[in-house]
């Protein structure tokens, strides 16, 4: 079923390649290699008790579905219509004005019309109309309705795993119709049939059993962090001793596990360690709640809740007062808009107050979890950090707003304030590509696998193109952000589209600039690369 790079001899010379001009409903999807992810393995679905756990491949004809799969999907739609006003509304009120059409990074980068958000939504709407509306039942195709066939299901799968739930379309929609919400529902339905991708299902199973996406066991987490401590000592001469699963600490710190193992997230992690040490913060890491990110969120509401529950549970067990969350995109969408609703009320915690500045984080007084950029911005504003931004002088930095924190939270100025204080060269990308209009990295929502690399490069092209612009114009060589998936995937994206631009988390830059008590003269940055102008004298 999957097509490889082959063309018939008579097609070779043909440039005017055009697909047949047919309506979109009559164009079944063609699975093209390098654009889709592998199917979820049976063992991973079994761990979390998901239905139809078996090994399968999207490229094969037979998806090994249960006999009554249509019934399951239709029942699933019915249930979700009654549970989510958003779904019912978004199925009904779209007028297909087309304002969202060219706002999607996948459409911009691929030109595939089914990547227009409105059409991606219509894939599900057409089924909704056929089975749940009077006009669709009576008029069929004229009313935009169609039967739920196996081809339709496959199309739904293909395109709902080509949406990163970035919400950019929702910003431009006159009714606020949010494709992210529709994709979430669509993926829930697909999961009823065991149709997840393994890049999501694997991390979910790991996170469920071991507390983090990578399946790092407790001693491994400790080892990994100790490894960073050695590097920190090399750079600063300071020996840091963080604690793990310590009862009675004031603060629990939770960050995406990507920061523990994937460069350049690891440097961000060193940044947290150095900052907290310098402050003398009474905090602890947890190996049980060792994941801020939540791939369950890309699976189903229930799965997301099951994974997220560990954070409050651990905070309660350890008896901390409140929680700080590290740099992550979808983690913060979850923490900000879902966590309290799912697993609250967190009445066993106290309203967060910075022990260093005394600032009350009023905006987090119910959820009791503070974003580290809010925390650090407050420190800097109150003059609690000694900073030497010239240590970042070899960097020309631009700022990538992550989709979830921009459009599902609105943390825009805090990181910029921090950035301006820790580096001297900061250049914004063009207005239409940042803040609420920011472009996705193209690999969010669990699409950061390797097998779909072409799709990722396409999806991230709009982002990379704007980076390239500031690189060529200002000589930008560092793309800073507050998202673990960004740190993992923008690196590959830059390698392809804008070589010589590196990627860093905010707190890596903070720690580079942070002047610590008793540190030795710094000659290296956290990457153990020599600091220009401050090289060690032999």
């Amino acid at each position: 079923m999957a097509t490889k790079f082959t063309a018939k001899p008579d097609e070779l010379s043909k440039l005017d390649y055009k697909p047949p001009k047919k309506g979109w409903m009559d164009n079944p999807v063609e699975f093209k290699e390098n654009t889709f992810c592998w199917g979820a393995k049976g063992k991973n679905l079994k761990i979390i008790d998901f239905p139809n756990a078996r090994d399968w491949s999207p490229a094969e004809e037979d998806w090994k579905l249960p006999e009554n799969w249509q019934e399951i999907v239709l029942e699933g739609i019915k249930e979700r219509l009654s549970k989510y006003r958003s779904l019912r509304l978004f199925m009904d009120i779209c007028v297909r004005c087309g304002a969202c059409a060219d706002k999607c990074h996948f459409f911009i980068g691929s030109g595939d019309p089914k990547n227009m958000p409105v059409l991606r939504a219509e894939l599900l709407r057409s089924i909704y109309r056929r089975y749940f509306t009077a006009s669709g039942k009576m008029l069929g195709k004229i009313a935009g309705a169609r039967e739920l066939t196996i081809d339709v299901l496959k199309e739904l799968w293909y395109y709902y795993y080509q949406c990163t739930e970035c919400r950019r379309c929702s910003v431009f929609c006159p009714y606020g119709i949010d494709q992210a919400e529709i994709t979430m529902m669509g993926r829930e339905l697909l999961n009823l049939l065991g149709l997840n991708i393994d890049w999501i299902a694997g991390p979910v199973a790991n996170c469920y059993m071991k507390g983090n996406h990578l399946g790092l066991e407790p001693h491994t987490i400790k080892n990994g962090i100790e490894f960073f401590l050695d590097d920190i000592e090399t750079v600063t001469g300071i020996k840091i001793k963080p604690t793990f699963n310590r009862k009675g600490a004031e603060i629990l710190f939770v960050t995406p596990s990507g920061d523990l193992f994937a460069d350049p997230g690891t440097y961000t992690c060193m940044g947290y360690l150095m900052l907290f040490h310098e402050l003398g913060l009474d905090y602890t890491w947890s190996t049980y709640a060792s994941e801020g990110g939540n791939f369950g969120f890309f699976t189903s509401n229930e799965m997301a809740k099951r994974l997220n529950a560990k954070i409050y549970a651990e905070a309660k067990r350890l008896g901390v007062k409140w929680i700080i969350g590290g740099e992550c995109g979808h983690m913060w969408r979850v923490v900000h808009q879902y966590m309290d609703t799912w697993n609250g009320p967190a009445d066993f915690l106290e309203e967060p107050v910075s022990p260093i500045t005394g600032t009350k984080f009023e905006n987090a007084k119910s959820t009791k979890m503070v974003h580290i950029a809010e925390f650090t911005a407050d420190l800097i504003k109150n003059g609690k950090l000694k900073l030497d931004p010239s240590r970042n002088d070899h960097l020309k930095v631009t700022w990538h707003d992550s989709c979830n924190t921009a459009r599902g939270m609105g943390i825009l100025e805090e990181p910029r304030y921090v950035l301006r204080n820790v580096c001297n060269h900061f250049y914004e990308m063009p207005e239409e590509t940042i803040r609420e209009r920011t472009f996705c990295c193209g690999s969010g929502t669990g699409l950061n696998a390797s097998e779909n690399m072409e799709l990722r490069m396409r999806g991230g092209f709009a982002r990379a193109n704007a980076v390239k612009y500031v690189r060529d114009r200002y000589g930008v060589n560092m793309l800073a952000n507050i998202c673990a998936i960004d740190r993992a995937t923008l690196k590959a994206l830059m390698e392809y589209w804008a070589p010589d631009v590196q990627v860093a988390g905010l707190h890596e830059l903070v720690a580079n600039a942070l002047v610590m008590k008793g540190e030795k003269e710094r000659t290296q940055d956290l990457r153990l690369e020599p600091l220009p102008g401050k090289e060690a004298k032999e």
Partner: protein, 194 residues
């Protein structure tokens, strides 16, 4: 050289046709978007292609003179080929955008080149276009290789870090993966610790 000045006069119309032909290789529902959306940020593909072919054409007109010009042309080609290398095209489709330039030029200059007045110059110009196609092929392969390299590096560096965390790799003398970056990392670490 008279051919070049003729071509320079017709530049706008040649580029217009060339652009349209390239854009038509995309699905019809998309091509209009690629053609008409103006901003280089809202429509990076369309603007990269239109800028790219103009730069290439200018370089062709300037002739095969200095060495650096060649480097420039391939940079311009790179911008376009790099995009087409990750879209749903077969390799031949991805590169087929170059050859129509020959046809367009012959169409545009039907009258002027009648009676083979410029046949030598035309021949030379067309071989320059052929060379363009060959460089484009190199670039295309490089892009594809890069994709696979990025893929491989991602999983390598992940494995490397995980093994490291599990204390399975001794930092100073272990054998990490071959990826450039990790080797550097190791070397640096080795130096630092000795």
């Amino acid at each position: 050289m008279r051919l070049n000045s003729l071509l320079a006069d017709k530049k706008a119309s040649i580029l217009g046709k060339w652009f349209d032909i390239i854009i038509e290789s995309y699905p019809p529902d998309t091509s209009n978007f690629l053609k008409n959306q103006g901003s280089r940020f809202a429509n990076p593909i369309g603007s990269t292609i239109s800028q790219g072919i103009e730069d290439i054409f200018d370089e062709l007109l300037r002739g095969p003179n200095p060495l650096q010009a060649e480097g420039k042309t391939s940079q311009f080609l790179d911008n376009i080929v790099r995009i087409r290398a990750v879209q749903d095209f077969t390799p031949s489709q991805a590169l087929s955008f170059i050859f129509p330039l020959k046809r367009i030029i012959r169409e545009e200059l039907t009258v002027e080149i009648a009676g083979s007045r410029f046949s030598d110059e035309i021949l030379a110009f067309e071989s320059a276009i052929d060379n363009l196609a060959l460089s484009a092929f190199d670039i295309y392969i490089k892009c594809r290789e890069q994709i696979y390299e990025i893929k491989a590096n991602e999983s390598k560096s992940m494995t490397f870090r995980l093994l490291q965390m599990a204390n399975l790799i001794n930092d100073n003398n272990g054998h990490g993966p071959d990826s450039k970056e990790n080797n550097n990392l190791k070397i640096k670490r080795g130096e630092v610790k000795k």
